[in-house]
Amino acid sequence: MRTHLKRAWTACAAGLLASGLALSAAAAQTAPSEIKIGTLYASSGPFAVASEGQYHGLQYWAAGVNKSGGVFVKAFNKKIPVKIVAYDDQSSTATATTLYNQLITQDHVDILMADFGSVLTSVAIPLAAEHHMLLIDPTGSGANFFTKKTNYLADVSIPSSTVWPLPLAHFILAQKIKRVAIVYGSNDFDASQAETLKATLEKGGVKPVYYHGVPTTESNYTVLLHTIAAHNPEAVIELGYAPNDIAFLHALAGSGLHFNMTFTIFPGQLLALMEKNVGAKTLAYTYTYPTPPLVAYPKTTLGPNTAAFVKEFTAAEKAAPNFLDAAGFNTGLIMQQMLATAPKFTQLDFHQALMDMSGKTTTLLGEFKINSHGAQMGELPPVAQLVPAGKGVTPVVVYPQDKATGKAIYPAPKK
């Protein structure tokens, strides 16, 4: 009897030992040799400048983490190098659709990250959901992306269009501007910003005197500006991508028209590009949303603060970063923290890790706060006016009051 018991215990112990060894072996096998991050960038087309900036920021982040042995992955309790698998979509949604599909089904990337902006992100959202992959969305903010609860979308580096224009709307109301013209690009990004802006203004008793969309490819605003001027607006808000903003500001400068307030988006993201194209004189006294590094977040809970990032990036890349560089880097940081906290290496655990970070994390772009629909509710940029400084212009934050660095010069002086 005792011999039988002894044999049984020995067998159990051997079994446990064997299964333990097998489990460890399995765990070691499933830890990948590298974390594959699949993304797209545009080397040409209307989104190229912004897209390349975002991609550059991501590459800068990846180089930094790989230098220190990779990212810590909690699921495997070890550091693993990251590898970026990236293809060029040439700013084409059709090409982007094929390439996102390739990243998911052929390259079997571990993390899927969208290209710049709402237009090139829009085609990735249904694909990611279909394949049950979490889409890390750096700069796609279209309101209609975030209409229902999802585990497969997270907007990480730009506020959702449902909240983004709120400071602008509140500023217009605070300035007691009654006649507002809104012209916007007919795409997810601009149209949803325009809708939010219009709704908020109307709630405050201001019904826009002009509210029209233009094609995303619109490049001539001369006749349109004349049509807008016929409505006698005090403020003209143009919501477009960088090429639209350049064409709009050029047309405004050449038209001889003057409005008390003019607002465009991209001077706040790509100030150097806009200054180079339209000149400081044209930009002077216009308004924009200043984004980091034009505004700085000195206190962060994750990664360097804005000033430290600018210093490190400039030293490494021999060029000062713009917002898109910062957004690409910030996306890397968020993914890094996600991998460091997700208990299992699954897409659902990645999503949960992001939800757990939400509201408790501040990065160089501000507070990271996403809702259950994947929309970024934090990182809200203020409203700034570009004022002449030396040969260029510099943003002066004019709203909200607690962040203001100066007072708005309203109405804008004639040039």
């Binding site: 040409s44 094609p215 605003y221 349109l224 049509t227 090429p243 064409a247 050449g254 001889g256 590009l273």
Partner: protein
């Protein structure tokens, strides 16, 4: 009423400029029956040429015009003798040219990205005048008028070339029938090479004004300009360069009217017009009338 007037005058100015944008493409098709899918890229090169002169050397962008003519010679002559005679000998030169020039377009775009990057480039706002000129009380920037004037002069020059010079007569003879022209002793290759040079030069000249009319020039604007040019020349009359003027005016006025009254659909206007005209009059608005002349 003032809005309508503004849209009509703006549309005419814009349309005259876009006649220049499309006319080179139509000339090349009319003479050689080849489809130059790189047309928009040649316009883009004209824009970058003016940019380099203005920003790099501090010259007025109008010096881009002689540069575009020189560029037309440097590119057009070898391109013709290297490519076109071989294409003409093939079974289906139109389709082959389609593919070949698509490749050339991609190459030019890639080289432009390499040389200039992907970002937008603009010319000094006041280089063509910083004021506005009014007609019937409607004012437009000086740059629009200069672009319009140069377009008119370029098209007038082309008209005089066709109607007053031996080379122009020979070109029209080739446009009517290439084989018959050759049989009558016309040096078809020489005349066609000159037509290709003129076509590319006109595209380059249009490019000089692109940054003023569409805000900026970038390496990726070529394909869009080629598509617009196609719409314009088909509206006017494919193969008839002077029909392009009518096509351009229809395009310009249609676009500006749409932009004034229903801006969301403004880029649909030229293609809706194209569809309607192709259905009603497949040879284009000036198709038959000019061919008889």
């Amino acid at each position: 009423m003032a809005l309508l007037e503004y849209a009509l005058i703006g549309g005419i100015l814009y349309g005259i400029f876009f006649s220049l944008v499309g006319i080179g493409l139509n000339l090349i098709f009319g003479v050689m029956r080849i489809i130059n899918l790189a047309h928009g890229q040649f316009i883009m090169l004209g824009g970058f040429g003016a940019y380099m002169l203005a920003r790099g050397m501090g010259l007025n962008p109008l010096f881009g015009i002689p540069l575009a003519i020189a560029g037309g010679i440097v590119i057009g002559y070898p391109l013709y003798y290297g490519v076109v005679p071989r294409l003409q000998k093939s079974q289906d030169p139109e389709m082959l040219s389609f593919i070949l020039f698509f490749g050339i377009a991609q190459m030019i775009e890639a080289v432009a990205v390499f040389a200039f990057g992907a970002d937008q480039r603009s010319l000094p706002q006041d280089a063509l005048g910083s004021g506005n000129i009014g007609v019937l009380g409607q004012e437009f920037p000086d740059s629009w008028w200069v672009a319009c004037l140069v377009s008119v002069l370029a098209m007038l020059g082309l008209y005089l070339y066709f109607s007053r010079t031996r080379l122009g007569f020979a070109t029209r003879a080739i446009m009517a029938d290439r084989d018959e022209a050759r049989a009558t002793g016309i040096d078809v290759d020489r005349v066609s090479a000159i037509a290709l040079i003129i076509g590319i030069a006109l595209a380059g000249i249009a490019g000089v004004f692109v940054p003023y009319l569409i805000g900026s020039v970038s390496s990726s604007i070529g394909d869009g300009l080629t598509t617009t040019s196609f719409a314009i020349i088909i509206i006017g009359s494919l193969g008839n360069p002077l029909g392009t003027v009518v096509g351009g005016l229809v395009f310009g006025v249609g676009t500006m009217l749409m932009q004034t009254y229903y801006s969301s659909w403004s880029n649909l206007a030229p293609y809706a017009l194209l569809l309607a005209i192709v259905l009603v009059r497949p040879s284009g608005l000036l198709g038959r009338a000019v061919r008889r002349a």
